[in-house]
Every structure is written in C-alpha cells, then in structure tokens.
Symmetry: C2
Subunit: 155 residues, 2 copies
C-alpha cells in the first residue's frame, strides 16, 4: 500500500520505517499548518514568532516577563529573544523596563496597541484553527494530542 504522504512526496519506495514516516508526517503537517497561519498573520505584518511572543505577553498580563521567561514559553525556542523584542518594540506592541531591584533582567510588557492587534486577530485565528483541524472532531483531536505528548515524554 502506498500512503498519502508517499504520494505527496512523490516517493515510490516505502518508508524505511514506520518511525521515519511518522517523523516526516509531523514535519510536513507542522509546515502545512505554519504556512496557513503565517498567511493569515501576514495581513497584520506579523511573523508567527512575533505573534507567539505577543500572545505570551498578553497571557502574562501587567507583571510582564523577562527575556528568559519568554524564551521558556515560546513554542519554537528562540535563541535570540533580544532582537525579536526589538522588532515588536519598534512597532509599539511591547515596552521594556530594567527594574531597579535587579538590573540584570529586562521585563517586557504588552502595550495597548499590542493588545489591540491581538484582539483583532482572535476571531480570525480561531476560525482558521477550526478550519485547519476541526474536521477531525473532538475525539480524534484528543487522541492526537495524547499521541504527540507521548512522543515528547521520554521516561
């Protein structure tokens, strides 16, 4: 039997292993979803990474977060939070402060303008999410979530 992924990749040989097929499947699906989401964000001139950091800071609220805390929370670990924050700060979406009690850290907070941009995106993003994976239905999405978390659980 020839799998759908094989056809997509125009490969005639079967995969060397089920493991390899799964890994390629995950990579390809992530790519597919990313492209769709980036397409939506492009209208607001945001990259996926920038959107991610704004969502993180919205979640953090008034207290804000330090660079290293942001880094821990990013979906795709960003080595270079400094310059990522530079870009969103230049556009007025966040503010930064070096607190007096610990002048090593830099605390970033989302601005009203940042909140406004995010709020505008909430409904379209939700709708896109549903369009992208909603057709699986709740049961299968739960199974998928379990399987993916099982992969990252090393034990």
């Amino acid at each position: 039997m020839v799998s759908k992924l094989q056809i997509e990749l125009k490969q005639n040989k079967p995969f060397r292993s089920l493991e390899e097929e799964a890994i390629l499947n995950i990579a390809r699906t992530a790519e597919y979803l990313n492209a769709a989401i980036n397409g939506l964000l492009k209208a607001s001139d945001l990259t996926g990474t920038q959107y991610n950091v704004l969502r993180i800071l919205r979640g953090a609220g008034e207290e804000g977060l330090s660079c290293s805390e942001i880094s821990e929370r990013m979906v795709t670990k960003e080595s270079d939070v400094t310059r990522l924050l530079d870009r969103v700060e230049n556009r007025g979406f966040i503010s930064r402060e070096r607190p007096a009690n610990n002048r090593r850290v830099v605390i970033a907070r989302i601005t009203d303008e940042g909140l406004r941009v995010l709020a505008e995106l909430d409904a379209p993003v939700d709708e896109l999410d549903r369009g992208l994976v909603g057709h699986l239905g709740d049961e299968r999405l739960k199974t998928l979530n379990e399987l993916l978390e099982a992969i990252r659980t090393i034990d």
Copy 2:
C-alpha cells in the same frame, strides 16, 4: 485538567480550543524532533534541509531531478532551491547539468561522495528515529500517521 503541553509552555490558562491545542502540539513536537535530528546531522555539518535534498536525490538515482521536481518533494517547501543546491554542490555532494534538449532546466544528481555521506548516516538516523518515536509502538504510530494525514486532507 492541565495538559502536559500547558505545563511545558508554563501556561496557566487552558487553551482556547482543542483545535488550538492540537496545532501548538504539532508545532512543538516538530520542533522537538527537528532539534534532535539537526543535532545528529551537525556532526556531518549538514542541515536538515541539505540532508533532505540529498535523500531525495539518492531516491531519484541516475536520472536526477530538476530544481522544481526537487522542490515538490521537499518536506519543507524551499523557495530557493538554487542556493541550496549551490551549497551541496560546493561540497561535492551533487553535480548539476543543463541538458541540451531543454536548456531551461537544471538536472541535479547525487555524487558518490554524497552517497557516501548519506550511507554513513543511515544507521544513526534509523536508530535516532526509533529512539524518538519508537516507544509509541506500531499501533499508535499508525494511528498518528492516519490522524496527521487526515489533517492535510481537505476535501
């Protein structure tokens, strides 16, 4: 209930939807797998993309493939195959030819040196693949593959 992904992302709020959780889960898992594979490839000074193109060309054999055919087969669609091929050509892993009967296209073929590098990586990559997702077992891997392909099937 708090999911494992929520803990990873240090999020206290639940996800807005099951759909959103699944999409983040896929992104994070892809990231996790990619990091592991890139780590292995770094010893050979190859990026994941370069490894991918070499595997594609090995699969194609003597006939080789044009840039656009390579692009179609890439796991992550590469806008810029030309310069990707430049890099692997400079290292002697592929050769390129502009055939006389159609001078628009450029056919790339893997060299013996390229085959040698890939062959050295086959066993370690297989082993890594098994280490990364093998603990799910065949049944769950099959389910995972079905679910991921269902996502990309739009109908």
